[in-house]
């Protein structure tokens, strides 16, 4: 009986650990990359693209993105209206349960403003995503030409 009890205890422990892992992870990021726009004068800018996958059965929400490589990181949406492209900052973006949020050209993008130092192709930019339900997720994005 004692052995059975121990077994159940271990099982419960494992399940709890599993649930906890699911809770903090549940977010997968892929295709993260940064393109810097090379200018001498302020503001120096760049753009980050990535795809966030929410593997949880509950929705989440991207609230903020920060980077140690830029003074500001803004979430922008590109909207096309009669052939005219408009860029608008957004304050938060929903990520559906078992769904994706894609930052890709022509859709959403992350604008890096006030690039610190000199970013070159091959460098890495660290991004910190703040999600409403998951908390902080760290992402390394490579600097590429395209």
């Amino acid at each position: 009986v004692q052995r059975l009890f121990m077994g159940v205890l271990v099982l419960v422990f494992m399940l709890t650990a599993c649930a906890a892992a699911e809770n903090t992870r549940g977010i997968e990021v892929r295709d993260a990359w940064v393109r810097t726009v090379v200018v001498d004068t302020s503001p120096t800018i760049g753009t980050a693209y990535l795809v966030i996958r929410n593997t949880k059965n509950t929705p989440d929400r991207l609230l903020k993105v920060e980077s140690d490589s830029a003074a500001d990181v803004e979430m922008h949406a590109t909207i096309e209206e009669n052939g005219v492209l408009q860029m608008r900052p957004v304050t938060m973006i929903d990520i559906p349960a078992n769904g994706e949020l894609a930052f890709i050209s022509g859709g959403y993008h992350l604008m890096l403003i006030g690039i610190k130092g000199d970013l070159k192709v091959g460098d890495t930019v660290n991004l910190t995503l703040l999600l409403e339900n998951t908390g902080t997720v760290r992402v390394a994005a490579a600097v590429r030409e395209r």
């Binding site: 393109r35 726009v37 090379v38 200018v39 001498d40 004068t41 503001p43 800018i45 760049g46 753009t47 003074a71 500001d72 803004e74 922008h76 590109t78 052939g83 005219v84 492209l85 408009q86 860029m87 608008r88 900052p89 304050t91 050209s105 022509g106 993008h109 604008m111 890096l112 403003i113 006030g114 030409e145 395209r146």
Partner: protein, 194 residues
């Protein structure tokens, strides 16, 4: 015999088939392109009417445009590169829609990072407005209260294609693939502006 006829038809179809412009619009009839007379990034005068014998791609944009402008310029640069030695017959001209921030120095550094042959043009507000109007370009400054860049410029992101004879031959839509841009250029280089 039947096969021979079929093959013959196929040959004729292949030869006579008109080129189908990719991802955009071919203008027919092509009219002389409205003049663009502005200063380049080195402060030297540029005239579109003097660019004969080359295909000129005009793109209207601004250096603080984080997504569409660099994406398009990178794609144009790639398409041009894929043309090999014919790339010399293609001129790429970036016309600012944000003359207040796009100084010649800023444009020079910006464009060099895509392709050192790219030309950046600016001018007075009145000169630029006349050109936007002639090409049907919308360029509207929008204040962004919550952004560190304080304003953006809504604008068209098509590529305006001027042929070797100085005629406005077509438009390539924004988001066109590198191959689409390259094949449209090949077509114009092949037909020699005719």
């Amino acid at each position: 015999m039947r096969w021979l006829i079929l093959i013959g038809f196929l040959f004729i179809a292949a030869c006579g088939a008109p080129y189908i412009w990719r991802n955009g619009m071919l203008l027919d009839p092509a009219e002389p392109a409205p003049e663009v007379a502005l200063l380049n990034q080195d402060g030297q005068p540029f005239r579109l009417s003097e660019q004969r014998g080359v295909v000129t791609l005009l793109f209207f944009g601004f250096t603080n445009c984080p997504d569409i402008c660099p994406t398009t310029l990178v794609d144009i640069a790639a398409a041009r590169k894929q043309l090999g030695s014919d790339s010399e017959k293609v001129r790429v001209v970036f016309i600012t829609v944000d003359p207040a921030r796009d100084t010649p120095e800023r444009m020079a550094r910006y464009l060099t990072s895509f392709d050192p042959t790219f030309i950046g043009l600016t001018g007075s507000e009145a000169e630029l407005q006349a050109i936007y109007q002639a090409y049907g370009v919308t360029a509207i400054k929008r204040d962004l209260a919550d952004s560190a860049i304080s304003y953006t410029v809504d604008h068209n992101a098509s590529i305006y294609v001027i042929d070797q004879a100085g005629r406005w031959r077509g438009l390539i839509s924004h988001g066109a693939a590198v191959e689409d841009i390259r094949e449209n250029l090949r077509f114009l280089l092949r037909s020699g502006g005719n």
